[in-house]
Symmetry: C2
Subunit: 210 residues, 2 copies
């Protein structure tokens, strides 16, 4: 009879985790529908047919819910990084990363807002969640470094360009692709700037041949 106890605890824990996940799923649905600041514990409880107070069994506060969403968003980004096609072509790498971020933004604007804009008052990610964000950052940093892009200012320019495309897409054409379709052009512009233009490369080749 002693041996049954641990299994019972496991089942309870599993149930607990399952409920927690249901709450998080409902939270995603809520921010998806009404924006990041539309998250409300009362409404969340209502959607799940429970009393608001019961949520505190699973999350210590509303910001704890945000923290789980924040962590999940960063894990999703890391997954997408892991699935990137491997290549040595700098322009292809830049294009892949830009598409990764901008589609991450358009897929779920609220998630992008949570991770990259500072729009939830008083929310600070926990150390564990923040570590995931740092991992995302260094992942991007080293992906660019691998193709010869290791200058800090260039990196900042790149993130500004990608963030600009993403935020304009969300703000001005949330359901279209007006800025999404500028990605290839943006990559060409940026790559020409930091690596030299294809034209310049051709000129250099001519000089070498001469």
């Amino acid at each position: 009879m002693h041996s049954a106890e641990p299994r019972r605890r496991d089942r309870r824990r599993a149930r607990h985790e399952a409920t927690k996940q249901e709450i998080l799923d409902a939270a995603w649905a809520m921010v998806r529908a009404g924006g990041l600041n539309a998250l409300s514990l009362r409404a969340l409880a209502h959607d799940l047919d429970m009393e608001p107070q019961s949520l505190y069994t699973y999350f210590a506060s509303k910001n704890a819910v945000y923290d789980h969403l924040f962590a999940a968003g960063n894990r999703e980004l890391l997954d997408r990084f892991a699935r990137l096609e491997q290549t040595d072509d700098p322009r292809q790498v830049l294009g892949e990363i830009a598409r990764l971020f901008v589609s991450f933004a358009t897929d779920e604007p609220a998630r992008y807002e949570l991770l990259f804009m500072r729009t939830v008052p008083d929310f600070e990610p926990s150390p564990g969640s923040y570590a995931l964000a740092v991992e995302v950052f260094s992942r991007a940093r080293s992906a660019l470094a691998a193709v010869g892009l290791d200058d800090d200012a260039d990196f900042d320019m790149w993130t500004a360009l990608v963030a600009g495309l993403a935020s304009q897409q969300l703000a001005n054409d949330p359901d279209g692709d007006r800025y999404l379709r500028l990605i290839d052009d943006a990559v060409a512009m940026f790559a020409d700037h930091v690596f030299g233009t294809q034209a310049a490369v051709n000129v250099n080749r001519s000089l070498i041949r001469a």
Copy 2:
């Protein structure tokens, strides 16, 4: 005695407008201190030593206050446009406009947020205020067209680049100039892309001379 009445009405109206402006000044101070969503009619009234209900004499709703801030922000932008140095040099024009927008953002982040991000739930500018925003847009559009930049996609790329620099500056280095100091480089990158590189120009000159 009849002639005194209009003057009394004028004085009353002037007093009314003065109080209205005091409220707006306090509102600016509030969003400056606590962010755009920190605006609260209760707190506003408290700062002005009045009851919250009295504010309704001056503004029909909280969003009416936001609307006045929105309009004032756009008027300030138009003023800055009017004060731009006149020049035919495309790169100089691009640089001036970029600095105009990014410093407009860093001078008062909440104002930039109100005008260019969609971060106040349920706020829609009134037709009159929106008209000012449209005027700002067309002002930027025609300033670029005047130096030969009239392609829609190029314009979108430009706004994305400038918006990206501004938003990254606000989000990642609000008190510094990490992205501000990239403006010249960004202008060069963009201008090279749409007008051709200086290198390419030199090559063309060589060809013409040869």
